[in-house]
Subunit: 318 residues, 2 copies
């Protein structure tokens, strides 16, 4: 199908210079990371998934002090206290919300009444059409190469994005496996109007992830991530003691109750925030093999724009 | 990383106008499909995986009559009669071989002695470095979105390609999930110097697949393929009665012997060549949702070049 759109709709919608969005990530993206991305031409997102409502309020207020540019909040809809988090977002006058992990219609009326731009994260065409039909302004199409929780359908970025672009009227943002400028160019080639980048931003100076976690991503090679917990909330993580144990249980059809016990709670905090490399969950993208340093956000943004333009100039007409 | 290469190496190596290779596919790509692709500016491959040596010989001879352009043969190295197939390739003076499913060094000395270009299909960095070290001229990096048999590492095209490009000196050809011109542009953006396209060419007039198989791909949507047989030769297929049954066995940890019995032989022939939509294996890409018709190869090649150029023109510098 011949390309329908240009990247300008997302840049206009979010008031950003570059079509680059930093994913909201648990234990990683507070006001420091989000404001740094927004100050360097992208869109920063505060990840509310690991915050109590009071803490989210504090991060929004600090982010507003730290940047004059637009920023947003990621809201996982299945959170038990999602109502309170949504209230904080509205009360604090946040104007951009990325919703995930739940029905996109959940707060759409109240968000729209408050002039909030709502973008929903999807992993298949069905959920994307649902998001469009309830009034979302755009979708993030997230491929199975993405770090952290992702869709059970296991659609890859390469397959998912053009199928969304062909079916939707609203803009599509590509996520999953994008860690450098080449990946941005590839995503826009497939018809996306912007990209959402997670793990690469998690491994920056401004990220609040533990240094052990950041080094684990830097050291990871192409085959060092895998999908775990297919029946208890699927996530892509760096292979470690915990993830190998839970994988063994899955492969051997150990019952779900036993798996749940082994999983226990706070594995993400343990891995990403506390840097426990054996017992924690180290959520990371399959493109971790492309991540080899821990730059500042300013360095990183300059680099990926340079990489994009270099790749762009190397491509010719057929 | 800043892009190192242009697409010219593969075009020169294979003597083709467009950097587009038609994958060698069992029951699909005989001389008719291969010569049609070569006659329209790409590289056609005869898929020897479903042929006895005598039949391969016949297809090579017919292909040579049908096109003046270069063409090649795909050789699955694990085949029991691989020695005989390799001998046919050499005796019939074929100058391009794509090897897969086995150790890339298996016939490299004899092929090189006969001035044959050897390109190996890989699913991870380790195998790619191995292919380079034994003297292959290029690799095909195949992501897990590809139809048919693929690597257990489940690396996606988006993650795999740039990691190969950064690590190798020889050119990288991208495969998996590429069905239109946008996909080609995306693959070249990631640093590939050409693409290998399978399912899209399987659904053309010149493909020897059964019309029922072609229609099944045309009707498939984004979520209609899955990976089966993870322990017995993993393959991506369109979901059907057989694939759902074998998936149930895998999920319930049914022993491998029982799975093998249920698998029996000739499931690929049954599905792809005989068009048995319930009991056959319908190998197909995750991008089947992008395939909506059964064009001639000439129509298809013109269309994807137009799509590529349209997508190219829509992309801007950042």
């Amino acid at each position: 199908m011949v390309r329908k759109f240009t990247i300008n709709r997302i840049k206009n919608l979010l008031q950003i210079k570059f079509p680059i969005i930093q994913a909201g990530m648990v234990w990683v993206s507070g006001w420091k990371l989000a404001s740094a991305v927004s100050n360097n031409g992208g869109l920063g997102l505060i990840g509310s998934g690991s915050m109590k409502p009071e803490l989210l309020k504090e991060h929004i207020q600090k982010c507003r002090v730290a940047t004059d540019h637009s920023f947003g909040v990621n809201l996982p809809l299945l959170r038990g206290d999602a109502d309170e988090l949504a209230k904080v977002i509205i009360d604090e006058n946040v104007k951009i919300v990325f919703t995930s992990a739940g029905h996109p219609g959940k707060y759409i009326d109240i968000f729209k009444k408050n002039n909030i731009t709502v973008i929903h994260v999807v992993s298949s065409l069905k959920f994307a059409l649902k998001a469009e039909s309830v009034g979302c302004d755009a979708v993030v199409g997230e491929g199975v190469e993405a770090g952290g929780h992702n869709g059970l359908d296991e659609l890859t970025t390469f397959s998912l994005i053009p199928q969304l672009v062909d079916a939707l009227k609203i803009p599509v943002i590509a996520a999953g496996g994008i860690s450098d400028g080449r990946g941005i160019l590839a995503a826009l080639s497939l018809g996306a109007e912007a990209v959402q980048i997670g793990t690469r931003f998690a491994v920056t100076q401004e990220s609040s992830a533990h240094i052990n976690y950041k080094n684990a991503v830097v050291n990871a090679k192409d085959k060092d991530t895998h999908l775990v917990l297919k029946k208890l909330g699927m996530a892509r993580v760096i292979k470690n003691k915990f993830s190998q144990e839970i994988t063994e249980m899955e492969l051997n059809c150990v019952d779900l109750e036993t798996q749940k016990e082994a999983l226990s709670s706070k594995r993400e905090m343990k891995g990403i925030f506390e840097g426990n490399l054996e017992e924690g969950m180290l959520e990371a993208s399959q493109s971790s093999g492309l991540i080899n340093d821990i730059p500042t956000v300013e360095e990183l943004m300059k680099r990926i724009v340079t990489e994009y333009n270099s790749a762009y100039k190397a491509i010719k007409i057929l």
